[in-house]
């Protein structure tokens, strides 16, 4: 036993679970081995401390259950409050999304539709915007030729009036 230290035996099991013969063997070894003696002493004290600690107990106060129920109600109320907040936030987010979508529709889709309808209208009238711009000179030419026509048609009246 002197060669084989008893520390493992002390650490493998609780001190209280050691039987009489094991304790006698430990004591015999500890008598000639100071490190094991120290370990044995410390284990004894540790065991006493743990048992002293285990003996203590706190009892519940008479109205403990009331406190628990109040805490439960409080926690249950917290959840709907959170749900309400989440729902409000959800409604806000949805309305914002709808507004953004609506704005997007107004900004991109409807103007596009108007342009296309204008184009369609131009097509139905037989000319397009480009044609109008390109034919402006022609129009001027047409106007000029009307004046010329008038001058050509009524030259005598004009000279008579003078």
């Amino acid at each position: 036993m002197k060669e084989k230290h008893i520390i493992d035996l002390l650490e493998n099991r609780s001190f209280a679970s050691l039987n009489e013969s094991e304790r006698t063997a430990i004591q015999a070894h500890a008598a000639n081995c100071s490190s094991c003696a120290r370990a044995y002493e410390a284990t004894q004290v540790a065991s006493s401390l743990l048992r002293a600690r285990a003996g203590e107990a706190v009892e519940p106060l008479p109205f403990f259950h009331t406190r628990v129920l109040a805490a439960l109600r409080e926690r249950q109320n917290e959840i709907p409050a959170f749900k309400r907040l989440w729902q409000t936030a959800g409604a806000l987010v949805s309305s914002m999304t709808a507004t953004v979508a609506l704005l997007a529709v107004f900004s991109f889709v409807i103007p596009g539709t108007q342009t296309s309808s204008t184009a369609q209208a131009s097509v139905s009238n037989g000319y397009s915007a480009e044609e109008v711009i390109l034919n402006q000179n022609d129009l001027q030419d047409e106007q000029a030729s009307d004046a010329q026509v008038l001058t050509t048609l009524y030259p005598a009246e004009d000279s008579g009036a003078r």
């Binding site: 120290r38 370990a39 002493e41 410390a42 540790a46 048992r51 600690r53 285990a54 519940p60």
Partner: protein, 231 residues
Amino acid sequence: MADGKAFSSPPDHSQRTLLANRNEQGKIEQGSDLELAQLARAGDESAFAEIVRRYSPRVFRFASKFFRQRSVVEEAAQEVFMKAFTQLGSYEGRGSMEGWLTRITTNTCLNMLRTAKRRPELASADLSEDESTWLENQLSEVAAERHRSSERSFVAADLADRVLENLSADDRVVLTLIDGEDASVKEVAELTGWSESKVKVQAFRARRRMRAAVEKLLGKQLPPAVAGGSG
């Protein structure tokens, strides 16, 4: 009796309500754990109150193995019942409700210990006079006999707590249950949800750490022949 005058007059509405409540309360008080759990799950507050009333002493006793302050024990117990309420669906009445609640208590306490700050290492200089005296007495053979009866003294329990505060939550749980309460490895495995081999290894290491902490404290108290000798 024959003319019926001896019978009490028929109860009015408020009395009837009171009687009905008493009957209901009586039923709840006599209800089995499973019945109470089912009623509480269905929203019957008084059934859950009865569960708390029935098992709070057990939960308190178990939580006070890990915490000494009443406020902390109460906090732990309250948390246990809150968890129990949310987990009522998992209680099927196969095992005892006491065992079910004890498992919840163990895990709740373990979590609370894990989140609590560990104290710096306790040195013998930190000990109060009472604690030093208690340790000295422990080392004296004669006084040890005398002290065996007063092992559960406040000083010893306080010192135990201070030593345990230096250890990890897992160490505390295994030491408290196995070395302090004589629980078996299997029981601790069931309570914590750990494997039996984990409990064994944890207990082995925890004992080593506890012994080292106590040895350090005893360093001053040990007689020079013992304290300074070689192996």
